[in-house]
């Protein structure tokens, strides 16, 4: 009998094991849902898969009278727009500030403690301030995402910059590089893969802020819809929406990972 950590599954077994929890959750839901529907056919808490499908088809293909939009696509479009804008602005701010502040010692001494303190402010606590300052429109939602994510990305990029070996920076100087040339030729390219990683790690938080902002005030969006139909206990909308959001998040994460592999082959070689 070996120690348990010394037993590793074969690849085929590994795949089966990976699928198992998903199947188990689905099976448990199905059994519970069937049991409830057998007692009360109009049960709203655990609808059947058929009613999920019917609701989603309705939301995706029938024009909503109030907004004259196909609701599923309209919500998705609004939420993704907010998410991409917020993430994009955060990444840009994080990259520029992180590199400049991380690389120039005087700026680092000035701003590093400030950023450290700033990143501890809970973004949702200042949401009312954002609503007051930027109104209830799109601006305050995007600022919320930036507020929540940019400090994390700045600090991550700064860490990466300071983790560059001193030898490399000295070597660059003995090759005649100016500060700008070191930033553009040595620091930026080596920080980019890390930036993609920190954006990937921020995806969850970004979704959280989008949904929170939409829940409070919005005219549409995935989070808005979920919180709107909550009043009618419309689990047939909420659950597929949650799965849809999860799927979108997964696809974005996957796309970013592929991007890092394609754009920075040297980073993959080094990691391997």
């Amino acid at each position: 009998m070996r120690r348990i950590i010394n037993y590793a599954p074969r690849p085929g077994v590994r795949l089966i094991l990976a699928i198992l929890p998903f199947v188990a959750v689905l099976a448990i839901y199905l059994l519970a849902s069937n049991a409830r529907l057998a007692v009360e056919p109009a049960d709203k808490l655990m609808p059947s898969f058929a009613s999920f499908w019917a609701t989603m088809v309705r939301m995706a293909t029938t024009l909503d009278r109030a907004t004259s939009q196909y609701l599923l696509w309209w919500d998705t479009w609004l939420s993704l727009q907010r998410l991409f804008l917020g993430l994009g602005i955060s990444a840009l701010i994080g990259l520029v500030l992180g590199i400049i502040v991380g690389f120039v010692p005087y700026l680092r001494a000035t701003f590093e403690p400030f950023f450290a303190a700033f990143s501890l402010i809970p973004p949702l606590a200042v949401l009312p301030i954002l609503f007051i300052l930027f109104g209830l429109g799109e601006a305050s939602k995007i600022v919320l995402i930036v507020f929540g994510i940019a400090p994390f990305i700045i600090r991550d990029v700064m860490l990466r910059v300071s983790a560059l070996p001193t030898e490399q920076i000295i070597k660059a100087q003995t090759l005649g590089a100016s500060t700008w040339q070191m930033i553009s030729g040595v620091v930026l390219p080596q920080v980019m893969p890390r930036l993609i990683d920190s954006v990937r790690l921020s995806l969850g938080a970004a979704w959280l802020f989008v949904i929170a902002a939409e829940a409070i005030t919005s005219e549409g969006g995935l989070g808005y819809r979920i919180f709107l139909v909550r009043r009618y206990l419309a689990m047939d909308v909420i659950l597929p929406y949650v799965i849809w959001i999860t799927l979108l998040a997964f696809l974005m994460d996957y796309a970013l990972r592929r991007l890092a592999v394609a754009a920075y082959p040297w980073d993959q070689i080094r990691a391997a």
Partner: protein, 279 residues
């Protein structure tokens, strides 16, 4: 012509004296090797020569002028590790220096200029034995190959002084031997000054023309940081007159062979043409 002078150089961190009274005068085309026990300040000496650190007292002169206060292109360097840029290919690494010098904004050459530089870089890579690895990334190279790359990368800038900080410390003995040969040859070919730090004595006397040992001359057991290290011995490992005469012989032999090769030697020509020896 490159001469290096240390004039009464001290290095202190607060109360701790690392180096004291370092005086050194180095002629052109010397291969200086600094040896000594670990933690005694060999690398600090090299770092000061690189301007990575500043002397607390005294000054360092190259060709009679104080060295710049920051690392510059006249002093090339190869460290034990991390001397190459992981995000550029082997060829890209070698081309970085000239591109930075020639393209301040983009750091990149295009067209004919790029082609010319690529040829120069490829020639240098072939010289250090990396010709067929030009498109690989440094992470795909072995330790010895990475050090060869770092050498080529530094040499393309034609530095006055090449500084080597335990460059072979992380290599296996076989690789180390071939690196010794390469560095020795490059030193002859480029006629530059090399300063190397090592703690391998045979290596020091194999490569160096001059070997200095750095150690503490005085030690206070109650306050071990009271006194710093300095140059305690200074060997002329390879006599300059012997070196020069060997060089001269080699040159004369080369010229004789070329003269033999050409059939139409004028009868009144001197047996050996005047050599261009500026020294």
């Amino acid at each position: 012509m490159t001469t290096i002078r240390f004039e009464n150089v001290w290095k202190e961190y607060d109360e701790r004296v690392v180096l004291e009274q370092v005086n050194l005068s180095l002629d052109d085309h010397e291969f200086l090797v600094i040896i000594g026990p670990s933690g005694v300040g060999k690398t600090t000496l090299l770092r000061m020569l690189l301007s990575q650190e500043q002397p607390s007292r005294g000054k360092i002169l190259i060709d009679g002028d104080p060295i710049a206060a920051e690392p510059t292109a006249d002093r090339g360097v190869v460290f034990q590790r991390y001397s190459v840029f992981p995000h550029r290919t082997v060829l890209g690494n070698v081309m970085m220096g000239p591109q930075w010098a020639g393209a301040p904004l983009l750091g990149r050459f295009f067209g004919a200029r790029r082609k010319a530089l690529e040829e120069r870089a490829m020639a240098l890579l072939a010289r250090v034995g990396l010709g067929e690895h030009a498109d690989k990334y440094p992470a795909q190279l072995s330790g010895g190959m990475q050090q060869r790359l770092a050498l080529a990368q530094a040499l393309i800038m034609k530095p006055k002084v090449l500084l080597l900080d335990e460059p072979f410390g992380a290599l296996d003995p076989g690789t180390r031997r071939s690196m010794h040969e390469l560095v020795g040859e490059l030193w002859e070919e480029n006629r530059m000054t090399i300063v190397m730090v090592t703690h391998d004595l045979p290596e020091a006397f194999l490569l160096g023309t001059r070997v200095i040992a750095v150690d503490r001359r005085r030690n206070d057991p109650q306050a071990p940081e009271r006194f710093g290290a300095t140059i305690v011995s200074d060997f002329e490992a390879k006599c300059r007159s012997v070196r020069d005469s060997r060089l001269f012989e080699a040159e004369r032999e080369r010229v004789r062979l070329t003269l033999l090769g050409t059939t139409d030697v004028p009868a009144d020509s001197p047996p050996v043409p005047a050599l261009d020896h500026s020294r």
